[in-house]
Amino acid sequence: MFDSLSDRLQGIVSELRGHGRLSDEDIDRAMREIRLALLEADVNFKVVRDFIAHVKERAKGAEVMESLTPAQQVVKVVHDELAALMGSSDSRLAFASKPPTIILMAGLQGSGKTTACAKLATFLKKDGKQPVLIAADVYRPAAIDQLVTLAGRVEVPVYAPGADVDPVRIARDGVRFAADRGDVAIIDTAGRLHIDEELMGELVRIRDAVKPHNVLLVVDAMTGQDAVNAADEFRQQVELDGVILTKLDGDARGGAALSVRAVTGKPIKFVSNGEKLADFEYFHPDRMASRILGMGDVLTLIEKAEATVDAKQAAAMEEKLRKASFTLDDMLDQLKQVRKMGPLSGILGMLPGVPGMKGLKDAQIDEKQLDRVEALILSMTPEERRHPEIIDGSRRQRIARGSGMKVQDVNGLLKQHREMQKLMKQLSSGRMPKLGFPGMGG
């Protein structure tokens, strides 16, 4: 029911591994999967459409096509684009040169405004500011009591003249109150539907009365497709400066973050992610992108591979592959490249789908086996490594003795090398079955 994108792309990736290079059709298939993943993460379908169109262009570009790991590269492009889209502008608050800095909080009912007010106050207090809370939600029963109680817990002043006072007046007087008692005024407003003209009009009047330095829209991370409608309406009517994403401690993918960012053009500044008042922090676009895509370590793996695989060596290897001149030296190189990335079992664990893959799950990835292959090849003369066909019986005995192993082990290695060479030939002719790493059991 809840497959991650990584799991789903695994199917495509494993097929792609066969032909190495991506065709336009492969990219289209991958894009379809990514589209579904984004929709399941609640990104608005129009936003998805635009996003996919944009990413497709990049995915068909050289950076992916010429990559060593094209399939993973597609995912990386998607991830990077997501992160860039969500975090391209500054997420800090605007502070007034002449205090108090005024922050107006707005949002639908139940998005978590009152709690977010208290959490923001806690956050700012820790930062050395002196926040003051203003209770302008006169509609929800006991909303004022709630803010007053929370202000007590945060230990900040609160302005709460009561539910029978006009909210515009509460805001205006509250800012004056805040100027005497602190340096940041946080105004809590009633939750309202974006299509409620009367209440939206009231919000505009509050804004005009206090001229806030920051108007923040509070959005529930679990919001579905409708997030765009609400956010767009708030943007048009009160001109937002940023967004606070709440309830991120749940398991919602949080696609609303992308939707809201796309329609408002305003940054997500904070996330609220826990029951405690201190569970509030700056927004991290990277983490959000991974969360929306439902993937964990794939990127770490790609970055590792990018950092460790020497591009020149890779190019030389490709040349050899094409000529089908795959020597034992090349095998040794390949082995070293793989090992540079870290313990094999760790690398395999990072691959999407692999931990649960049939067969491989039980196969013991024996690091020692890699040591043995390395020892065997290192016990050969350069001539033998280049031309394995000259390795006769007595040479085999010498290599076995030199590496501390048996003649059968030498035979096994040579056989494996011959098979790999065969694979290389098939590869250069365009058809290649799965290529295993040498020395991998199972």
């Binding site: 529930d220 919001t223 409708d226």
Partner: protein, 332 residues
């Protein structure tokens, strides 16, 4: 469905005038729902016109797909519904745009139907009948309880509210205000107490105060918070021990703006406290609440009530055809 049909245990007690009033009320509501929900359906009509004109093809079904996705129906349920609709459209030779949209509405409504009409009703046959109300933060549990209690008093019952949300600041005050508006009793304790203890007191008070329905408000909690879900399980166990056969209803309050995570919420609450029905709130906005399709389909939990506004009478019985006709702006 009308209100006088909603409660199991209050049959035949409603005068004809009330029935008439209900019908008028519903007509007004349908209009309102349609105005809001139908806004996004314009594009769909355009798409379906193309089908009818014969320039059909994959594109058009893709747009039907998008209409469903836009309603938060979710990818899996959407694909299934579209598949079925394609077959139906072909076999019945549907020609007009109206036919197709009506068929779409029916296909979605089919996903929300129950075999046994009682499965959609709220069981208040027991005296006292215990209704446990649960959900994540901010879905409108307290408001729903206010409206439900008001409706029960209108129908001659004596509800008692139990404020077992001892976590959120001023939650008990909020419920107390509702109790005042409705004119019913409430049991509460100081904030920060053990919700199971409040529930225990509430159930004991029901007998002494002559209440015949007990509605229990619980703190909003994310379904991923293990300790809070355990706390809720404990509340249910306390109820079970104290009143055999209770709770008679466990209602999950779900915000219509919720996306695909709603299915997870329902799943986890179902596992913890065996949900008997969903109350879909905030349908007076532009959100469509399509996730209830997946919740009904995958977990078999029916929608029982919908919330369409902030007034006392803005809680309504759920009817799948009414709901989907409003969703896709079908006339009649």
């Amino acid at each position: 469905m009308e209100w006088y049909e909603v409660f199991r245990g209050i049959e035949g007690e409603v005068p004809a005038a009330v029935v008439e009033e209900e019908k008028a009320e519903r007509a007004g509501l349908l209009g309102r729902l349609r105005r809001n929900l139908g806004k996004a359906s314009g594009a769909l009509r355009g798409a379906l016109t193309t089908i009818v004109l014969g320039a059909a093809g994959e594109d058009v079904w893709e747009q039907v797909e998008e209409a469903l996705i836009a309603a938060d129906v979710g990818v899996d349920a959407t694909l299934e519904i579209v598949d079925r609709l394609e077959v139906r459209a072909a076999s019945r030779g549907l020609r007009t745009q109206e036919d197709l949209i009506a068929e779409l509405a029916t296909a979605v409504a089919d996903e929300l139907r129950v075999d046994d009409p009682d499965a959609r009703r709220i069981d208040v046959t027991a005296h006292p009948a215990i209704i446990l109300v649960v959900g994540v933060n901010g879905t409108g549990k307290t408001t729903t309880i206010g409206k439900l209690a008001w409706r029960l008093t209108q129908m001659g019952r004596r509800p008692l509210m139990v404020a077992a949300d001892t976590f959120r600041a001023a939650a008990a005050e909020q419920l107390t205000e509702w109790a005042g508006r409705v004119g019913c009793d409430i049991v509460r304790q100081a904030s920060g107490g053990d919700p199971a203890a409040v529930v225990y007191d509430g159930l004991a008070a029901a007998a002494s105060r002559g209440a015949d329905v007990v509605i229990i408000d619980t703190a909003g909690r994310l379904h991923t918070q293990v300790n809070l879900m355990k706390e809720l399980e404990k509340v249910r166990r306390v109820i079970e021990r104290q009143v055999p056969g209770a709770p008679h209803e466990t209602l999950l309050v779900l915000d219509a703006t919720t996306g695909q995570n709603g299915l997870r919420q329902a799943h986890e609450f179902q596992r913890a406290v065996q949900v008997s029905g969903v109350v879909l709130t905030k349908l007076d906005g532009t959100a469509k609440g399509g996730i209830v399709v997946a919740i009904h389909k995958d977990l078999g939990i029916p929608v029982k009530l919908i919330g369409v506004g902030e007034q006392l009478d803005d809680l309504r019985p759920f009817d799948p055809d009414e709901f989907t006709r409003a969703l896709f702006a079908v006339d009649g």
